[in-house]
Structures are given as C-alpha cells and as structure tokens.
C-alpha cells in the first residue's frame, strides 16, 4: 500500500448503516407483532374439519391432502378428503372445504 492509498482509504465515505437497521427493524417487527396478537386458528380449523368428516365416514388419514397458503391480505385453506370407494360405501366423492 502506497502512502497515497493511505489517504484515500481514510476518506472513503461510509454509508450510515444505522438508518438501514432502523428501517429493517420497523418492517420486520410490524409483521411479527401481527402474528402475536391474532391467534393462528388455521391449524385448528383444519383438524376440526377433518374430525367432522370422520364422524360420518371412515377416512384414510393417508388420503387427506391439506393445502395452506398464508398470504399478506388473505390466506386460503384447502382440504381434500378422499372418501371410501364403491366396494365399501357409496360412489367416491370428494369434499373440499375452504376457510380464510
């Protein structure tokens, strides 16, 4: 490093990283605080819906497909339950429930 570099390196302008820290914190905490005050009911809703169906027909737990999509403004819950085939019961049907 030459003596010129020495002067250059000390003069490099530093971005004020503290303001970036503040901005990032405000955004992430705004999201995290929402999750704290509103209880997340979707997992329970899903369990209860499946339990209700199971009261009417014997369902194979392996044949239950659950899709949860958490969005910013809206979330969707799609539950697909395969009911027993023609040998065991009435014709196959599919029940789907959606909740937000």
């Amino acid at each position: 490093m030459s003596w010129l570099d020495f002067f250059r390196s000390t003069r490099k302008p530093e971005p004020a990283s503290a303001s970036a820290a503040k901005e990032r914190l405000q955004i992430v905490l705004a999201h995290e605080r929402i999750g704290r005050t509103r209880e997340d009911f979707l997992p329970r809703l899903q369990q209860e819906l499946v339990a209700v169906v199971a009261r009417y027909v014997a369902i194979d737990p392996g044949k239950v497909a659950i899709n949860l999509d958490r969005g910013g403004d809206m979330s969707t819950l799609a539950i697909e339950i395969e009911l027993p085939g023609p040998k065991g019961a009435p014709a196959p049907q599919q029940a789907a429930a959606a909740g937000r």
Partner: protein, 273 residues
C-alpha cells in the same frame, strides 16, 4: 410481599448477568433486602460475576428436588449487606426446574426479601419462560443492534402472553428498557442505532443507558459487580438506573461521545482512567 423482577432479553450475551449483578447490588446498597436468582441452569455464571463462586454448596435444583433447604443454598454476600444469591446448578439441565418448585421458592423468599431478581438465560425456552413467569416487573436488556432489538420485542410479546400476570389476567408486567453496550462514538458516526431509534421501536419506558465500558470486563475478572466501581461510567449508569427504578428522576448520562483530548494531551498526557 416481595417484588419479582426478571432481567431478560431473548438474545444471548447482551448483558443480563452483568445487569442482574449490578442492579441487585445497587438495590441492596439502597437498603432493600434483595436476592438474585440465577436461572441459567447448566451454565451458571452469576456466582462468578458476584464473586461468590467458591462458596457455592447447594443450588436451586437441590432445593427444588428436596436435597437442600432454601436457607442452605442461599449465599449471603459478604461485601454488601441485605444481598443474597441463589446459584443455578452447573450439572443438571433445564428440565430439573419445575414451575411448582420455582413457585415455592419465590413464595418462601417473598417473606424475607423486598426484591427478588431473576437472571434469565437466553432464548425463549423453558429456563427463560420460568425466569419470567412470576415477574411483576421486567428489565429488558437490549443492545443497539438489529437482532437484539428484535429479540427484545419478541420477549415483550412473551411477557404479555406467558407470564403469570398475563395468565391470571392481572395488571400486566411492568416493563423497563435498559440499553447496554451503547457506544456514543459509533452512534455519532451512524454505525449504531441511536437511543431514540431503539426507544421508538420498542416503545417502553427507559430505565437507563449503560455505555460500552472496559470496566465491565475488569469487574468480571475480579468478581465485583460493576456498580461497585463508582469511578466507571458503567457503574455510574447502573447506579442511576437503580435510582430511577426506585422512583427518582435522573437525567440520562453518557449519551454523547467523550470530548477527544487535544493533540498535546494525546501525545504527552498519560492514559486516562
């Protein structure tokens, strides 16, 4: 009935144990009968910071499991009147702590002491949850740094939902913000979050600001709570914080960079203390 105060942060290594030792000592110096409990089971350290490590015989787990009486496990501080320490276990794990066991200990201590300080372990798992469960007041130790501020926010949420006061729907735990390791020089250069930023984001009452200070390491080397070092800025900041905790109105200090000594002082003057 004693006041139960938890010293907590979520994030590790921000200064909880340093603060617990300092505030407990400060309250005792002010004539309050104070006991400080180390909840960091498996990683006992408060004994070292308080300088009583050679006097530990029994610990909180021994008491909970009925292997020792509370009186046998409590260590009376020899330098500071009115101050006792209940050490954590070094050999067991956090599961050795039970809510019922801790409840009994706090209840019994409550008969003899004015303040019960709980030095929380880092994290939001069992040990930290037990440390804050019985709290009436909480000192949230925060460094001016993104992950520490975020974790403090998280632990505030936990206090509002998982403490006994929250469960019993009583008045909420009283919150105090203690910003530690504050480096006014770095703040001035825009490298570190300003006090005002941290206050704005966390939005809880400010108990104090403890500057980054070499005296903290020195104090831990000798097992002397830093508040006993009346010369040091950290010691003075903790003393102010104790005063405010007891209701005094004191201006916040050490928020501006120290005046740089002139060139002559730097070249020819001795090192400042």
């Amino acid at each position: 009935m004693a006041q139960v105060i938890v010293v907590t942060s979520g994030k590790g290594g921000v200064g909880k144990t340093t603060t617990s030792a300092a505030i407990a000592t400060g309250l005792a110096q002010r004539g309050k009968k104070t006991v400080v409990i180390d909840f960091d089971v498996g990683l006992r350290n408060l004994d070292l910071i308080m300088g009583v490590e050679r006097r530990v015989v029994f610990d909180i787990v021994n008491v909970i499991q009925g292997e020792a009486r509370l009186n046998q496990a409590l260590i009376r501080d020899k330098r500071t009147e009115n101050l006792s320490i209940l050490p954590a276990s070094q050999t067991r794990d956090k599961d050795a702590l039970t809510k019922e066991g801790v409840a009994e200990i706090i209840e019994e201590l409550g008969k003899d002491f004015d303040y019960i300080l709980c030095d929380s372990p880092a994290g939001i798992e069992k040990g930290a949850l037990l440390a804050l469960y019985f709290a009436d007041e909480a000192i949230i130790v925060t460094n001016p740094e993104v992950s520490s501020v975020r974790d403090s926010d998280r632990i505030l949420g936990v206090l509002q939902s998982k403490s006994r006061r929250a469960e019993e729907k009583r008045d909420k735990v009283k919150e105090h913000l203690l910003v530690t390791r504050y480096d006014a020089n770095r703040v001035e250069r825009g490298e570190m979050l300003k006090l005002e930023d941290v206050r704005e984001i966390l939005a809880i009452p400010l108990l104090g600001v403890v500057p980054e200070s070499e005296s903290v390491l020195k104090a831990s080397n000798t097992g002397t709570p830093v508040i006993m070092d009346a010369e040091s800025v950290a010691g003075q900041a903790y003393k102010d914080a104790v005063g405010r905790f007891l209701g005094e109105e004191l201006p916040h200090r050490f928020l501006e960079p120290e005046k740089k000594p002139g060139i002559f002082k730097r070249l020819f003057g001795g090192r400042a203390a």
